[in-house]
Point group: C2
Chain length 230, copies 2
């Protein structure tokens, strides 16, 4: 794609949350030959909606359409302008002179978080990256630029909105148990919740549909499966 196909100075970064069943994880890219870890991000086509650009990028990394996506902040501090970082990445990938000099400019980044069903995703690296993989939120590697701050703010926003909207079902498969749902809440909030109270509250929302029981073979009463009422 020729360089003038993207808007200058504007980037996006996405914090893709997944839930393994125990822990919250996010997707990180590792760049070729640099040891640099970064959030999956990209640029906005000159004839493309900002939100569409982010969905396009997520589709490339995760293969998923119709992802739950929320824009939460735009980072525009000067401290995030470190051309030497991008220079290193480009040099590790065959150097400049490929019409990629525009990447060395200052960028303002619009940040989004996505909530997706961990098991549906096979992460895909891009041309500049060795890998795109899941990392535990509580043991992340060092990230480039201000990406650690972006992750922090994403989690804060998610927590802040948790009791306003039932978004956590996006982190689970279509059918899930009440315990699965509680595990997601506890992973996001970082604290234990009372089982009876949690169950009462979730059922009280009136948006969960109860299905048949899930017989796992465990030596105990089988839990109901639920789905999100659409």
């Amino acid at each position: 794609m020729p360089q003038n196909s993207y808007l200058k100075h504007i980037a996006y970064d996405s914090v893709v949350f997944g839930f393994s069943g125990e822990k919250l994880k996010i997707l990180l890219m590792k760049y070729h030959n640099t040891g640099f870890y970064a959030l999956p991000g990209g640029f906005v086509g000159v004839s493309e909606n900002l939100n569409d650009a982010v969905r396009r990028g997520l589709k490339e990394r995760t293969g998923l359409d119709n992802i739950y996506l929320e824009q939460f902040y735009t980072f525009g501090n000067l401290e995030r302008y470190k051309p030497e970082v991008m220079q290193t990445i480009l040099e590790a990938n065959g150097g400049l002179g490929n019409g990629l000099e525009w990447l060395l400019d200052r960028f303002i980044s619009v940040a989004y978080f996505a909530l997706i069903n961990y098991k549906d995703v096979i992460p895909q690296p891009d041309a500049l990256s060795d890998s795109c993989d899941w990392y535990d939120l509580d043991t992340l590697p060092t990230l480039i630029l201000d990406h650690a701050e972006i992750v922090k703010k994403a989690l804060e926003t998610l927590r802040f909105n948790l009791d306003r909207k039932l978004v956590t079902t996006n982190l689970l498969p279509t059918y899930f148990t009440m315990k699965d749902l509680q595990n997601v809440y506890e992973a996001i909030l970082g604290e234990k919740l009372h089982r009876g109270t949690f169950q009462r509250k979730m059922l009280g929302l009136g948006v969960l549909k109860r299905h048949e029981k899930q017989y796992t073979g465990a030596a105990n009463k089988a839990p109901f499966l639920y789905s999100f009422e659409d």
Copy 2:
């Protein structure tokens, strides 16, 4: 300022809320010879933090420093790219050829809302505008581009966060009565609140400091004045 002093494609718009004592109002600019109304906005210097650019712009319009400011969304749809609007504005101000052609490009706009004490402000127009003045939120004129949508989202965000943070004191003078505070809440929420319950809740937060009574000359019990506990 030469054109290359600003980052291309990036703008900001600000929804400045003030409270007249009865109604919520916002600041609007009216452009010379066009009848166009718009939110106060601006651009980001190449060596300037995004947040600082917004504070600089607000300082020019309101004369105020240390304003309560919150970034709430970044608007990047293609539909907001209407170069003919900016062209009309520029032609009404002496035409192009002044090195202002970059204003005809596509812009992504980072939107902020500010909460300020209405009485502290003497609105100041800029070079392109006839006026910068307060308008009732419920009887706004037609705004350019997507500015009506920006206002709508600003109000939604303000409402959504209203019971999480005590931000409304930013809309009042240093000393205010409980009724003043309740009026602000009612104006933002668009509904009446029960007096006793409201008072109990606000005092229960433990962040209001009670001062002497306010004797206004009205034929009734004088209310206490409060300030925000810092």
